[in-house]
Amino acid sequence: MKKILALAAVLLLAASAAFAQLGTGTVNTNLNITVIPEAALTIQTPNTSLTSPGTLFSNYTGTTNFTYFVRTAVSGGVSHITLAVTTDFAGSGIVGPSVGSPLDAADLLTYVPTVPNPSKHGTSTVPSSAVSAALTSTAVTAFSTDARTDRGGVSSSVAWTLVNDPDYQTGSYTAVVTFTISLT
């Protein structure tokens, strides 16, 4: 009798196991993702040249192109793009342009940003007038809450103007400008 009961138990277990392996039931699993605010940019003009027509000491001008990607929080979140002259002009002349210590107070490096609205949602607000570049961060644009671009980003630019002071010595001068996109 004991043997029969043991055999029955084994048969039942085998049957249940066999059913679990050979059955066609479905099983669900949840994929959970948290989309957080993010922001990034790429620079299309790693070397920006400022040029002048060469007559009447017309100002030097040039353009830096960049692409931004942004996703700000649906509520309460914003994003900013800023730039700073992280390395002041230096070059073959001793007396040349300078952002930190200009020869004359009017010798400014200024810029006008062109930053279209995010391609999917939200707004971009640039300064209302030309901005004087500085060794510390200055504004390029501010994005609204729930600002979103598509995967291709949004093409933007900064148009530079440098005063052509006759007091500069001739030569080539280079500064480094760092663009930063941030989230708050």
């Binding site: 990034a40 620079i43 920006t48 007559t55 007091d167 010595q169 001739t170 080539s172 500064a175 760092t178």
Partner: protein, 180 residues
């Protein structure tokens, strides 16, 4: 089933790698801003210049022209000049003339004055319709230091020949600045 279990980790790894490569952006980017500062020059001239004679005993006509200039010459091998030329002789006819003076010896002449970085011309210079005459010269690494520019002055003398008919006469003098 076993094959699938073996393949899944590799597939996940491939997907993760692809995702990271597809979004190679960052929060910062830099650009090098370069400007080539070249030799350059410009000037402005106050116009018109009135030549007047003092008294009534045929003293010469005199007057002066203020030239405001802006200049930048190359650091080690640069130079510059300011020159002038009578590009339109006195008119109407019957009065003074630079190109064909009514009397030999009738002349429009000038002297120059000014401070550094200019070196003004020395002595009395004859103005000419046929060629340019010197006003100032500049050496290497010469540059004006203020946004208002620097100045040189040409002081004119025109012979007061009694043979001139009475009336108003006008000539055009062109100043030219160059820098290298």
């Amino acid at each position: 089933m076993k094959k699938l279990l073996k393949t899944l980790p590799l597939l996940a790894l491939i997907l993760l790698f692809t995702a990271s490569v597809g979004h190679a952006q960052s929060a910062t980017g830099t650009t090098s801003v370069t400007v080539n500062v070249a030799a350059e020059a410009a000037l402005t001239v106050a116009s018109p210049t009135a030549l007047t004679a003092i008294g009534s005993v045929f003293n010469n006509y005199t007057g002066s022209t203020l030239v405001t200039y802006f200049i930048r010459t190359k650091q080690s091998t640069g130079s510059g000049t300011i020159s002038l030329q009578v590009t339109t002789d006195f008119s109407p006819a019957g009065g003074p003339s630079v190109g064909t003076p009514p009397t030999a010896g009738d002349a429009l002449k000038y002297t120059c004055s000014g401070a550094a970085p200019a070196t003004p011309c020395t002595g009395s210079q004859p103005a000419s319709t046929g060629s340019s005459s010197p006003v100032a010269s500049f050496g290497a690494d010469a540059h004006t230091t203020t946004t208002a520019g620097s100045t040189v002055t040409t002081s004119w003398t025109l012979t007061n020949d009694p043979v001139y008919k009475t009336g108003a006469y006008s000539a055009t003098v062109t100043f030219t600045i160059s820098a290298s």
